[in-house]
């Protein structure tokens, strides 16, 4: 009983910090609201699908950024998809970085794209790590 209470507190604190640190926005809460007893793992399932979408796109974008000259149209297209997926799960920071990246694409600013992409990858990895830890605790609660 006490362990469950501890886990519950830990979970609440992990969740809150994701919002406080600007990693997640209200879209995540909307996803949580779509969960019910018949679909208890909906959020985790959606987030897992997001990893599938986004991991593939990150690799694709990385490859595209190695080309010379840069194809800004293609880069913009990939980032549009990445942004969409991030928006749908409420990934606030990476969504903002995607927007920034697309603005650099429009301006034909290769260096801006590269810099922003590094930031995006870092924040994506952080969010992924934190969410995976969060879902693990959730799982422990049964």
């Amino acid at each position: 009983m006490e362990r469950n209470q501890q886990l519950r507190r830990q979970l609440a604190s992990m969740r809150q910090s994701l919002f406080d640190q600007g990693h997640l926005d209200e879209q995540f809460i909307l996803l949580e609201e779509l969960q019910d007893d018949a679909n208890p793992n909906f959020v985790e399932e959606v987030v897992t699908l997001h990893y599938r979408d986004s991991a593939r796109l990150i690799t694709t974008i990385e490859r595209a950024l190695e080309k010379s000259p840069l194809d800004f149209n293609k880069l913009d297209g990939y980032m549009h998809q990445f942004k969409g997926s991030s928006t749908s799960i409420g990934a606030k920071k990476v969504k903002a970085e995607s927007t920034q990246f697309r603005e650099y694409c429009e301006a034909g600013n290769g260096e801006g794209c590269l810099k922003t992409f590094q930031l995006l990858k870092r924040d994506y990895a952080t969010l992924r790590r934190k969410l995976e830890a969060y879902f693990q605790v959730l799982l422990c609660m049964g």
Binding site: L30, F42, Q81, S88
Partner: protein
């Protein structure tokens, strides 16, 4: 002629989106709203399902009962706009309302979709309230008002452009408008929309 929506309690929706995440999301939203959902990943697959792909395949019985098609705009291969056009060209499916979803709120894009006969244009992420509103709209048999609501949205867009205030076109803007504000008579042959009038 009663619409299928009026005859059956459950709406059958064909959802088209290339993103795994968005497909799952729209499926869940529609499920919660008590709709039957068929979700496909591309415009090509959607046309195949509807039997509009030019192959000799017969359209499935289920596909004939589709009451609403909701599609993403930006997709590889065939865009939602191109899919919309193909549906509106079909004698079997042209009366089925088509809703476009997009993360972009670009007025010219919205405008061209509405002109081509889209029922509505929803900016992503799609919310439960969007789906519920859409469902009510369809269940009330409002496809009969297709021309009117399209014209009203067009007017709204013209007003926005006239005021030249950059506006983030929120999905709630056009759709909160009361039917009492609709122009009373739109039977004029000068109606700019290519949508055929429903009987």
């Amino acid at each position: 002629m009663a619409t299928v929506a009026e005859c059956s309690k459950e709406l059958h929706v064909l959802a088209v989106d290339d993103s795994y995440v968005d497909r799952k999301l729209i499926e869940r939203l529609l499920q919660i709203s008590s709709c039957k959902v068929t979700a496909v990943e591309s415009g090509t697959r959607a046309l195949q399902y509807l039997g509009l792909d030019g192959e000799q395949s017969n359209v499935g019985f289920d596909a004939l009962k589709v009451n609403l098609i909701i599609t993403d705009y930006t997709m590889p291969g065939m865009t939602g706009y191109e899919l919309l056009k193909k549906i509106k060209e079909s004698s079997v499916f042209r009366e089925v309302p088509v809703v476009i979803m997009s993360s972009e709120d670009v007025l010219t894009q919205i405008d061209s979709c509405l002109e081509e006969g889209a029922e509505e244009y929803i900016v992503k992420p799609v919310k439960l309230s969007d789906v519920k509103r859409l469902k009510d709209h369809i269940m009330r048999g409002e496809p009969q008002a297709n021309g009117k609501s399209g014209l009203l949205k067009r007017k709204l867009i013209d007003d926005i452009q006239a005021s030249s205030v950059p506006l983030s076109f929120s999905s709630s803007v056009a759709c909160d408008l009361e039917s009492s504000q609709l122009p009373s008579s739109l039977s004029s042959p000068n109606c700019p929309f290519k949508r055929p009038k429903l009987l």
